[in-house]
Amino acid sequence: MSTEQLLAVPSPLPARGARSPRRGNLRRADVIWGLAFVAPYAAVFLAFIVYPFGYALWLAREPSLYSELIADPLYLPVLLNTLLFVGIGVNVKMFLALLLSGFFLRRRWWIRALLAVFVVPWLIAAPQVGISFHWMLIGELGLIDRLLSELFGIDGPLWLNDRALAVGANIVAYVWKWMPFWTVIFLAARMTIPRDIYDAASIDGATGVRRFVHVTFPLMANLYLVCTLLSTLWTLGDFTTVWLISMGAPAGHSHVLATLGYRYAFDTARPSLGVAAVMSVLPILIPMAIVLMRRFHVSEVRV
């Protein structure tokens, strides 16, 4: 039996499609109750998503704002920083989380104990993560440079005085904080893969890397894509990491769009310019959200 045939066997865990067929006619009372139950969410969505979004579009409506952005020598470097922060941060984090979830799957007491330590960064609030990393990297008195000089006799760099190092520091702190969350998600997903699939695959000679590429990953590919897209959207909005670790240093050159927009809006009192700065990536946000919606429903059973 080949691996492909095995994969066609439906996973026994989620009892999908166990639902009775949709009834055509709703009872009147149910409709009223249903509307009452949905009303709080609808109100939140309209008041705090639709309205602010419309407001943001209205604030950022002037085309002159965008030519002003392009003219600002900071805007394009910050756009590149955002691309690096999100592109490298999210993908490195997700890929490592996927690999580590395989490591944590093993049933050893010391690996379980390690998992308990490994998830702690996820529970440490972003502001604390920010100040701890900032202080570790503060220069020769920071913990990292002290360790470098004690252990290896190296004079560490001034991490936050160099654009590349500052952006890198933000990315490392971001990966540190968020990798555990996604590792736990992938670990949970791996636990639902039935053992028989692996047993059969190993008879076919699929072990190690080949097993990961041909068995595990195909089963998790859609989840991986959905999580990566969701995480990309969330990370684009990450304000705290950059604001508290590199603080934009040197001279604003390690900002991302979220922090640059804030600076325009609140530090230089140009709210419309701040909104325009973040809304300038709307053309890539919308397609991402559409792909996300499609992929989210891939495994749904049609009723």
Partner: protein, 289 residues
């Protein structure tokens, strides 16, 4: 199997074990170094002893800074319990409202069959199309328009807005695994939708609700932007105080770090309390995507 294979296998196994042990060591250092840094500074009795001399361990570790924090004796932390209380109010209110709003909407769609579940999950996903922080300027203005400026409820509203979509995704994925016969049976018994929601739906959904609760609390706990924009310093929270640390070199670093360590405790307590439910439901939910 020939005898020559076995020693090679054993060597490979030992190599794999050594690799695992090495990876474990790397992960341990990776995870603990920033936490060690927090304790290094917090346990330093004299302000500036560790931070400004660059020692790798404080000569005389002391809990003095923790005492200063809880007795509200440290600079910027004179109202520590009020700040901590504000953070707790935001965290708890966000969690409870997210649970209520998310589960009501999810129940209406999947069990009262008000609409296709896809409409609800797509609405939820659409909420994430524009990241929360991108809307900070409109929120600032709207908070003033709604009379929610410098009001904890203004912050809570924004946190609930961005926690509820995740709640709906989790509840919808988890809810798909519940046979519809369950509430059909309850309906035959003459139970009203409210009774089915309270007595059938909520108890069955407890593992998924545990994940939602943890997520909502952490979202509120991680927030720094909304609190610092929508609240004034006199009505401050822990996140705001910590975030403003660098604005002033006179801050007592050891006390600030001690306060930060205390701030970490509520999410840890919640995870420990809910860990069985979280593990169970994440497995079910992730299998559904």
């Amino acid at each position: 199997m020939s005898g020559a294979v076995r020693p090679r296998n054993r060597a490979r196994r030992i190599l794999a074990e050594a690799g695992s042990a090495f990876l474990a060591l790397v992960l341990l250092i990776w995870s603990l170094l920033p936490i060690y840094n927090m304790f290094l500074i917090a346990l330093d009795p004299e302000e500036g002893e560790v931070e400004f001399t660059g020692n790798l361990w404080t000569p005389e570790p002391s809990l003095q800074s923790f005492v200063e924090v809880v007795t509200q004796d440290a600079r910027y932390l004179e109202t520590f319990w009020q700040q901590f209380g504000n953070s707790l109010i935001i965290g708890i209110a966000t969690t409870l409202l997210t649970l209520a709003i998310g589960s009501l909407a999810s129940f209406a769609v999947s069990h009262l069959r008000l609409a296709r579940g896809r409409l609800l999950t797509n609405t939820a996903l659409l909420s994430y199309a524009v990241p929360a922080s991108f809307l900070i300027v409109p929120y600032y203005r709207i908070a003033h328009a709604y009379g929610l400026a410098d009001n904890l409820w203004g912050v809570i509203a924004t946190q609930v807005t961005f926690a509820t979509p995740f709640a709906i995704l989790i509840l919808q994925l988890y809810g798909r695994l519940i046979p519809a016969q369950l509430d059909d049976a309850a309906r035959v018994d003459g139970a009203s939708p409210v009774q089915i929601y309270l007595r059938v739906y909520l108890p069955v959904m407890i593992p998924a609700l545990a994940v939602v609760a943890l997520y909502a609390l952490l979202l509120a706990w991680n927030d720094y932007l909304f609190q610092s924009v929508l609240l004034l310093p006199r009505n401050g929270t822990m996140a705001m105080v910590q975030g403003n640390l660098f604005a002033d070199t006179d801050a007592e670093w050891n006390a600030m770090m001690a306060a930060g360590i205390i701030y970490v405790l509520p999410p840890i307590v919640l995870l420990l309390a809910l860990r069985r439910h979280v593990a169970a439901s994440l497995a079910m939910v992730s299998a559904g995507v």
